[in-house]
Symmetry: C2
Subunit: 647 residues, 2 copies
């Protein structure tokens, strides 16, 4: 006997679906495109999928998650309810997946994150049970499919990828006309804020809606970070970080661009970064017990040079004045055409960039932190290999790149390393003995020191008088930690026997000099950009720090060395890898995909490289914390080396 | 010294362009997107490019093409005029290229052609002189290009092919920022009548607007016909016809589909048809002294099976009840992805089809003949390898496929051949001696006989009593032309010595039987389809015949054998290869591109293969002209064989 069909309507969205009698209510919601939070995996344990039955009836076992009063009011767990009639179901705000995911993201981004978006991934799946063709209805296979999407999901007139047409006849018949259609929303126009196109990119036999995964990638100059996302839950299944294999060809973007100009150089560097991405993918699918074919969509954020090299776009003119990128808005490309390990239909979304030195990674970070949503005057600083800053709010934004170099990611530092296990990330100093205390990432024996460790160590040196305000060691202190090394004076952080590398881990005066130059570039950039819009650093209502240099960034220490402006500490927040977070969030919501395009267009880029104010401010900042003592009122009094003054 | 810049406005279109002082007015029109007729190639000889200068001044030499009175009124030849100031120029209807091309097409299509469309090719070129980037304006290369298109041509926000972005930085700089942008309009949505997308597919150094060529292709089961088109003039540069190399794998679509089901069969047949298309292209570019890179766009019309095989879409279910094609509306594909010899950016537009047996070739022919534009009740018949018919007008259309087989293209006929040089295309018979008179295509010695020759010969046989009304030879006639051959009785059209093939060219009783079956299928289709919409053949206000079987089709003879209904002769018109004409016309006008989608959607397909009325009508038509003598009132009286009656 055939089962009765019931119509289930979800309010307040107004979305409907038709299901067989006895179907699960949570699944019905999924099929209607309503995202309900269910973090326990439909076991009835978490109680987050509460809905209210407005009309109609369901069968639902008693559970301690529902009080008698709630039960009386029609509250049920969607995951435990079977549909017994036509239904109208109310989904309360707290049960909505978008709220749950937004809350989770807010924690992850230290409280400053984009809000108000709906959970509506660009990659969507629709299950269809089609009636087979007859002589009276022998429409083409594609017409039948499109008609089904129209009837069941009210989706009209979506362009179809040619490869879908190619496989369609066989898939429809082998599945007995029960298929899952995958669509993706991509931004395809530059000027139009709503210039998006939805297209059908895949058709699979049977119901595969439970498998809907995407990848978020941050392609940094030094590292490639990726997260594998479950789009049905809005959650991160696994994360991976690897070195960008391009580092063998130079530490910064300039040397990479130089290499691309050699014969076959662009192709070689493109393959290196693709291999790096594939290394993360291979790790992620192994952890998650998935396959490459499960990766249905990829979002990539990177600086302009990294994005262009990944796409095989010659970055030559990024390096030459007047510094023009090939394009800031790139149409989606097939992952397979780049050699990326993913489903054959998967598209790669590339974040829009602003200029040659303000790339998609900055746009992505701004989106993740929700800077564009708030009137609050915000200073956003990405302390990566390059160093980019943004000042602005929901109304306007100016941005600049500081050419800070890779010191904060360990580049150009004798024992520098990226924030990976074994990196010294926190550091303290006994003011009497000058003996160090440190913590490594993962708590293992040290292999080197990462950005946060360096900042903390140099601040500690400065406070204890181990170094002078121009970054030179005090050789008169009675400690065997300070000694003459191959590159001049150095401080031994860890003796060889304590390390994983079997060598003393040191900080040299050259390292300190590199760090001072890097922090001077960042600070000068901040100062110059602020002045360009007639703002003083003390006007910042919020300072958002992004970067992949360890979670132990100590704001006080960063101010002590003059990297950050000396303003009230409660205005600072560190959000980690903002670029990766933005790449994750646009996989969750087309609202944010749209925002990314708006943000890239609203940012005004200021070129610092040929700006004489910047040069002046940079030279003035080559001191700890700064030549202008008044700019750091809370710092100078604490320093234990009043005798080291400006010459 | 820099030349002054002048603005030229063309009315009534209202299009504007800015050009240097002294520029040619016809070229200015081209750059503004105004198409002016100039058939002599700007030599001032043809006088078709007359325009009226409304305001401003030009210098223009005296010419006998312009009378003194005309000169007084400001009439000038655009091709001979140099611009001396800002101008307002009126382009009269008779000088418009769309009118000129429409008139030319009307002649070509025997007076029944689509009208009222504007000359606006889907493939367009725009020349841009951009200002190079500076530090104050270092927008991305793509932004600069799009900005130029917006400023100079008011084109906003066009999606860009990724390959254009890839080559853009180098092309812009090597050309000193003077480039030509190519756009193409493609239909990308199925349901939306205006569902078209314009995209940028190429950027070239310098001004290449003078080179704008496209290809129109009719992919028939037996032959592939192609025309190389000059999109600046709306003219055919060259035409080529070759066999579809798939004929080695079977004469009709059913045997082709069967072959595709063998291992690697689909790929093999796809390569054969691609090779056939390439054979026409290679010939066309040789004749025209062009290169493959000049072919910027390709339109293809073919039956559903031919189109699917060309695209590599498995045609398996076209052959199996209930006969479903993979898709009726196909997104554009890159020519290079199919292996077709054309510019790397060239797209292939595939005509929409209606069903498994009513393909893009029929839609194309209907468009070419303008059936969809007129209220006149029209019967359209494509007498190709299959045989498709359409009844309708601008309001409605029904259509059916008749499975007539390839006899009219020479298939299954002992000395049958397609309409190529050497084919006997006209035939007469001395009623006393029974000696033949014939004409071949090209006037050369005969190689065989094509469709029109067969129809004319069999009608002549019937009228002279050489054959009976059931198609059997009268062996009692005193002529050595009729003799016993390997396949039974036969008539010798030409003795071996008169031919190119060194063998007697004959028509056998088997040939006649095949032709009778083919004409019976066509006639029965017409009868059945008419009845299905309660129409009688005598209601047809117009009968349009399309087919590639020789230009000497004699309507009287076709009625004599019962292929066409016996209605007044002045209602008939033969338009030749309508499919190829439609493929040409959509290269000239996006209006017709849009019409093609509308027509494909408005046609109601009737399946005859499982229709018992059709079977009955088919059997009744297996007689010359028909078993129902009353249906052919003007014929039976003329026949010289009253003694051959129905048994």
């Amino acid at each position: 006997m055939e089962k009765a069909l019931y119509t289930v309507k979800f309010i307040p969205d107004g979305l409907e679906t038709t299901v067989e009698a006895g179907s699960n209510l949570l699944e019905a919601a999924l099929s209607a495109g309503v995202h309900i939070s269910a973090s326990c995996g439909s076991t009835g344990v978490c109680g987050t999928c509460k809905v209210r039955i407005e009309t109609g009836s369901v069968s639902s076992p008693p559970t301690e998650k529902i009080t008698a009063a709630e039960f009386q009011r029609g509250i049920r767990l969607a995951c435990q309810s079977r549909i017994l009639s036509d239904l109208t179901v109310f989904v309360p705000v707290e049960s909505r997946l978008d709220k749950a995911v937004q809350a989770r993201e807010k924690v992850q981004l230290s409280g400053v994150s984009a809000s108000g978006w709906s959970f509506s991934p660009p990659l969507k799946k629709y299950y269809l049970e089609l009636s087979p063709p007859t002589l009276d209805d022998n429409a083409s296979d594609l017409s039948r499919l499109l008609r089904g999407l129209q009837q069941h999901y009210n989706l009209a007139d979506i362009p179809v990828d040619f490869d879908v047409i190619r496989k369609l006849p066989a898939v429809l018949r082998e599945s007995q006309w029960k298929v899952t259609v995958t669509t993706v929303v991509v931004s395809d126009k530059m000027e139009d804020p709503a210039g998006e196109a939805c297209q059908i990119i895949n058709v699979e036999p049977g119901d595969t809606r439970r498998e809907n995964y995407a990848l978020a990638v941050d392609v940094g100059t030094t590292t490639v970070c990726a997260q594998l996302l479950d789009l049905n839950r809005g959650s991160v299944l696994a994360e991976s970080i690897v070195f960008n294999r391009q580092i063998h060809y130079g530490a910064d973007v300039i040397s990479r661009i130089a290499y691309t100009q050699k014969p076959n150089g662009l192709r070689k560097l493109q393959m290196e970064v693709v291999d790096s991405i594939n290394e993360t993918i291979d790790e992620l699918i192994k952890i998650s017990a998935l396959t490459i074919n499960h990766i249905g969509h990829i979002t990539v954020a990177g600086n302009t040079t990294m994005q262009q090299i990944l796409l095989g776009l010659d970055p030559k003119y990024i390096r030459l004045a007047p510094y023009t990128p090939a394009a800031n808005f790139i149409p989606p490309v097939k992952a397979s055409s780049l050699g990326i390990h993913a489903a054959s239909q998967a598209l790669v979304y590339i974040f829009p960039s602003v200029s040659s030195y303000i790339g998609g990674d900055i746009v992505s970070g701004i989106i993740a932190a929700g800077v564009h949503q708030r009137p609050k005057l915000t200073f956003y600083m990405d302390i990566g290999t390059n160093g980019e800053i943004v000042i602005g709010n929901s109304e306007w934004m100016v941005t600049a790149s500081c050419s800070a170099g890779p010191a904060f990611e360990g580049g150009g530092i004798k024992h520098g390393m990226v924030a990976m296990p074994g990196a010294i990330q926190d550091f303290s100093l006994d003011p009497d003995t000058f003996e160090p205390g440190f913590q490594t990432i993962g708590g293992v024996d040290p292999k080197g020191i990462c950005g946060s460790g360096l900042i903390n160590a140099i601040a500690a040196f400065l406070e204890a008088g181990v170094i002078s305000r121009n970054g030179k060691f005090n050789s008169h202190l009675s400690t065997k930690r300070i000694r003459e090394g191959a590159d001049g004076l150095e401080y031994v952080l860890a003796w060889a026997a304590e390390t994983q590398i079997g060598k003393d881990i040191v900080i040299t005066e050259v390292d300190i000099d590199n760090l001072i130059r890097a922090k001077a570039a960042m600070y000068a950039g901040c100062h110059t950009l602020s002045r360009s819009v007639n703002i003083s650093c003390s006007d910042f209502e919020q300072v958002i720090l992004a970067g992949n240099f360890g979670s132990s960034l100590n704001i006080d220490k960063a101010i002590t060395i003059g990297l950050l402006p000396d303003i009230p500490r409660d205005r600072f927040v560190f959000i980690g890898n903002g670029s990766l977070s933005g790449a994750r969030l646009v996989n969750y919501s087309i609202d944010l995909l749209r925002d990314a395009r708006k943000v890239a267009r609203m940012m005004t880029n200021i070129e610092l490289s040929e700006n004489s104010d910047f040069t002046h401010n940079y030279v003035a900042a080559l001191f700890l914390p700064h030549t202008d003592e008044k700019a750091f009122p809370t710092i100078n009094g604490n320093l234990n080396n009043p005798d080291h003054s400006l010459k």
